[in-house]
Amino acid sequence: MKVAYWPGCVSRGFTPELHGSMAKVAPLLDIELVELDRACCTGAGVIAEHNQELADTLNARTFALAQQVQGADLMMNICSTCQGAQTECQERLDANAEYREHVNGTLAKYDLRYEKDNLANKNFLWVLVEELGLDELRSRVKRPLTDLKVGPFYGCYIVRPTDRLGIDDEKPRDTYLSLVIEALGGTVIEYAGMQKCCGFPIITMNKEASLKQAARHLGDAQDADADCLVTPCPLCHLNLDLQQPLAQRHASRALDMPVLHLPQLVGLALGLDPKELGFQRHVVKPASVIDWSTSVVAGVGDEGGAVSARGW
Amino acid sequence: MPAHDVLILGACLAGQRAALAAADAGATVAILSKVHPVRSHSVAAAGGINAAINPADDWRSHAFDTVKGSDFLGDQDAIEVMCAEAPDEVLHLEHIGVTFHRNETGQMDLRAFGGASMKRTAYVADITGQAILHVLYEQLMKYHERVDRYEEWFTTSLLQDEEGNCTGCIARDIRTGQLEVFTAKNVILATGGAGQCFKPTTNGLICTGDGISMAYRIGAPLMDMEMIQYHPTTLVENGFLITEGARGEGAHLLNADGERFMEKYAPNKMELASRDVVSRAEQTEINEGRGVGPGGVGIYLDITVVPKKRTLEALREIVNIGKDFAGVDITKEPILIRPGQHYIMGGVKTDVNGATPIPGLYAAGEVACVSVHGGNRLGANSLLDTLIFGRRAGEHAAQRAAGISMPEATPLSRVREESAWIDSIIDRPKDGRRVSEIKDDLGTEMNRNVAVFREQDGLTHALETVRRLKEEAKTAYIDDRGTVFNQDVLGAIELGFMLDCAECTVMAALERKESRGAQYRTDFPERNDDEWLKHIDVSRNGDDTPHLSYSPVTITQWQPEERKY
């Protein structure tokens, strides 16, 4: 499968391990990534908050670039926030022909044009379930995550609003993380915060409330006995992992909850070396996922191969 | 113990408008409601509010349409007051913030409505009642230091001194179960109608005729109680209201043959004839086997003829109702409707200031009968009625308050008596019937025999049923023994209110041996001005039975004539 691939900004900035792990995982799933390296930031809702037309035009430009990728089956991103921000713009562009023409008018001088009905834009999570298929995914697992208790953390932008994101009985996209965790052989840990907000959007405006949110969900997951969380959103990762030392203050206890990016979790089960997946870059060491003393993936049963500990 | 110049019971449009007017007139004011004010049933009024604000219009034209709509039973002096004051009232609403929809020139847009000779209905999409109610509540929040609000207090009885003046009420704080006496120089009833006597009804569960019954119990006469409006377009599925605005925007009514049958009944106004006429036409089609849907019990309302963009903008609420409750996309297919109980034209008899014959007792809105609606209310006149007479009652009561002193405190023994009565309901043994069963029986009976078509036998049966249920209600039991939010005991009290209203309605309907407005007697199919151009008043005899009498219809400019649409 060939996809027009939008990695987003943060996966190339503060969470480089996300972009990197996706690159490692893609070939193992026969996904050919054609990176949209000419595209710009989706605006993460903030540009839309500033000026809706600006956000819509910038994203229409990205969509138009994606539509130019020869032979691509769809457009794929690896960030819940990008998914949500782009889908919101796409909804407006698709809803109203007059508006679409207006936006295309701006793009015309760059020889770009967004065509409605011609761009499926999916997060890697949706691609796994809807394009690759869970059976296929299961069949490629080399190191099932047996006994690994994983709490899903979706990120708001990929679960709400349900109608805009196409979540319904046929496509219960708000349950996909659980399906993927199970397909990889892991155990799903349900906890109150799975579909709540990580708090990141207000980290600069109300830091205390922001960190309280992160602390709450991390604590809930801990209470539910999760070994780690997995998220398809790098911004959630920032608040849940990078900020965890600060969030911990609001939890009144040690949290120490590793948070994995979705491609990392998939990569682990597909047999990749934790280092290749960039686990060493996390602020909270994924100690429960990887046995750091022996460098063996913990809880993966007999098939779990030893992994070299060199360098970390 | 609270004491106010003006105490308003019910926080619907009429009540809130009265409170603001009374406060503006300098009175001390309290407004008390059994639900939070924005839950009041005025919220459900959809289509709009009539006023001759178009310079090409004339309030006299509005008044004549109203007189004709009432089938000449409306009192013309009151109708003149309402229609003449309508434009200023609507402009006042606009000034305090109601988001009336505009035309391309920025002025208020007006839509067509049933029985009107020109477009004169101002509107906010199809949530006009909600918009006005919420804006009035905004004003009450602004007036928070001048109007005391008692939200979620249930009035159980009106108080009267020895001279017969109304001096306040006893009410129960729903949250604590505490009974409290509210002393007042004047009481304004704004407690709404009694649609819950019928099943189904478009009315909310709170519309249980509380004020009508409480006023009746202290001797106030009721008027036009036989006049029950069946709205032509209620959803077959569950009785929900589909606004007349839909037909105002151009929607058609179709029978099983796909025929716009209104041609036969009202060739000029078609779907926009008055409500009694349209409902009767629909019921005739259904009764004669030309109904549609399962069992042929409905009629198609075809909104697909309205441009989709317009429907989505101006009829959004019914787009949602269709989608959510009937599984129908009204922009693509017709929706199944039928006539359903909607409004009572009758109520506590008042003058044009909202004053009842009992000194100190006022009424405004659906609880009252001024009578501006007579035999049939025109669509979009109810909001107007509530606001005009709510304001007038508020102003008049404030004025009256300035000239009299605060009534003496009601003796505690009266509260103890009330308390004992409520406790006795709570303590009833479980050997009678359930309150909910009696209520169901009442609604079903009324909807069967006191509906669009009526006749002697059916009405007699209804009267017998209501009287039997009244007996049964005396021993009906409830489950809730608590004090906090004991809705169960309030339900038992409400049942008593409803049974009073139902009894008066059935007796008046039996009495009126003609067909006029909403009262259509198959055994007396003609209007008979010689004998029946008069109101039927109902007041309570000492022995708890209704006593009937008559009062004249006030005619100023318009002599009765044949009514054709």
Binding site: A4, Y5, C9, R12, P16, H19, G20, A23, L33, V34, D37, R38, C40, G43, V46, N51, Q52, E53, L54, L58, Q68, Q70, G84, E91, R92, K109, D117, N118, P201, I202, T204, M205, N206, A209, R216, L242, Q243 | V35, H95, G97, T99, F100, R102, E104, G106, Q107, V124, H134, E138, K142, L205, N238, E313, R316, D324, A326, V328, D479, T483, D488
Partner: protein
């Protein structure tokens, strides 16, 4: 098509009960009722109340989703009991039993009845919820744009049911947050051309630490609202007006954050996170990070920064040097900025007003990204990128 005529089915309701007079903890009570599947959960509750236990407490009146009384949580989701089909509720339940609880974020009075005065109405009162008239008040109606009244009708459509308050995630951690319903109410005045104090209202709401910038953008209120009010969208519009129209530089960094974000994307095409935070606190320029406020923030975040550096998550180089998109593309992006900012009026498409174009065949699920073949240079560039392991390896560097 219409759903009339379906036979009644059995449904079991599991209702959260709480009797404040008993001294006992809340508990669950189950009742089985019979209804047609298209009937509402409220009708189910009323049947249970009428037939089995009249003491079940729930506020309700209109049964038609307009009075806003019956806000509850059904299978964990907030909404109106009268607006939820009972058949559907069963489908979305965990175990076939429909679970009904009182709304969240508000204290429970009894059973399904919550104290809205203590939370919701207090917050509504907070936003000065009445029109402050532009003077002079005209003799007739104010002459205003047709669209403006349709626009504020979206917020006027709020029935004050509290479903959004129930689910608000910001309020969950910050009970002082003014919240979605009250802020939507605030937009009803800020968006109303007849109101005289739009600036004052916006300043008030921007400066309040629990005001418009305390919304965490989680979409919960949009999802919860039974009336399409989309409170979060209204909050974003309040921010847009506060920041872009009135240039209110608030103490909560709201306006600076937005300005910094928008500027960084304009300058680099991509977000430069290392620069975003200091600028949000210190001011929207490269010098922002040297402002005292930014310094304080830096000190507060020191543990995090140190860890991130240790793990090579953030490198000094990465923090100091932004990643950019190719310069030709950056020029296009900047050109788009200039074009859009140069418009006389800010264009905003509100789907609540315009609705959606008529569905065309195949509109639902786009099949694939077909090569439209038009783009010349763009194609090669787009084809060229294969992501590498680290950002340093990435072709976008």
């Amino acid at each position: 098509m219409a759903e009339t005529g379906k036979p009644p089915e059995s449904y079991t309701l599991r209702i959260r009960r709480f009797d404040p007079e008993s001294g006992a903890a809340p508990y669950w009570a189950e009742h089985t009722i019979e209804l047609e599947p298209h009937r509402s959960v409220l009708e189910g509750i009323l049947q249970a109340k009428g037939r089995f236990d009249g003491s079940i407490g729930i506020r309700c009146s209109c049964k038609a989703a307009i009075c806003g009384s019956c806000g509850v949580r059904i299978n964990g989701q907030p909404g109106l009991a009268c607006h939820t089909h009972i058949g559907r509720a069963k489908e979305t339940s965990r175990d076939g039993v429909i679970e009904i609880e009182p709304m969240g974020n508000m204290p429970v009075i009894k059973d399904l009845i919550v104290d809205m005065d203590a939370v919701h109405w207090k917050k509504v009162q907070r936003v000065t919820p009445w029109l402050i008239n532009k003077e002079p008040i005209p003799e007739r109606e104010y002459l205003v744009d047709r669209e403006s009244m349709v626009d504020v009708t979206q917020t006027m459509a709020c029935i004050q049911c509290g479903a959004c308050v129930s689910d608000c995630l910001s309020m969950e951690v910050d009970p002082l947050f003014i919240g979605p319903a009250a802020l939507a109410k605030a937009y009803r005045f800020v968006g109303d051309p007849r109101d005289a104090q739009q600036y004052e209202r916006l300043q008030d709401l921007a400066e309040d630490p629990h005001g418009i910038y305390d919304c965490t953008h989680c979409f919960k209120c949009i999802e919860a609202c039974p009336k399409g009010v989309a409170p979060m969208n209204q909050i974003m519009r309040l921010r847009r007006r506060a920041g872009s129209d009135h240039h209110i530089s608030d103490r909560n960094n709201g306006e600076r954050h937005e300005a910094a974000f928008v500027t960084l994307v304009k300058d680099h095409g991509l977000l430069w996170e290392a620069e975003l935070l200091p600028r949000s606190h210190g001011g929207n320029s490269w010098f922002g990070k040297f402002a005292p406020k930014a310094g304080l923030e830096l000190a507060d975040s020191l543990p995090v920064i140190t860890k991130a550096m240790l793990r090579r998550k953030v490198t000094p180089m990465g923090a100091l040097k932004p990643h950019k998109i190719p310069s030709a593309d950056l020029k296009q992006v900047q050109d788009i900025y200039d074009t859009v900012h140069g418009r006389d009026e800010r264009l905003e498409l509100n789907l609540y007003i315009t609705g959606y174009d008529e569905d065309e065949a195949g509109a639902q699920e786009p099949a694939a990204v077909a090569a439209s073949g038009g783009g010349d240079g763009g194609q090669t560039a787009a084809e060229g990128g294969q992501p590498g392991m680290t950002p340093e390896d990435s072709p976008t560097r």
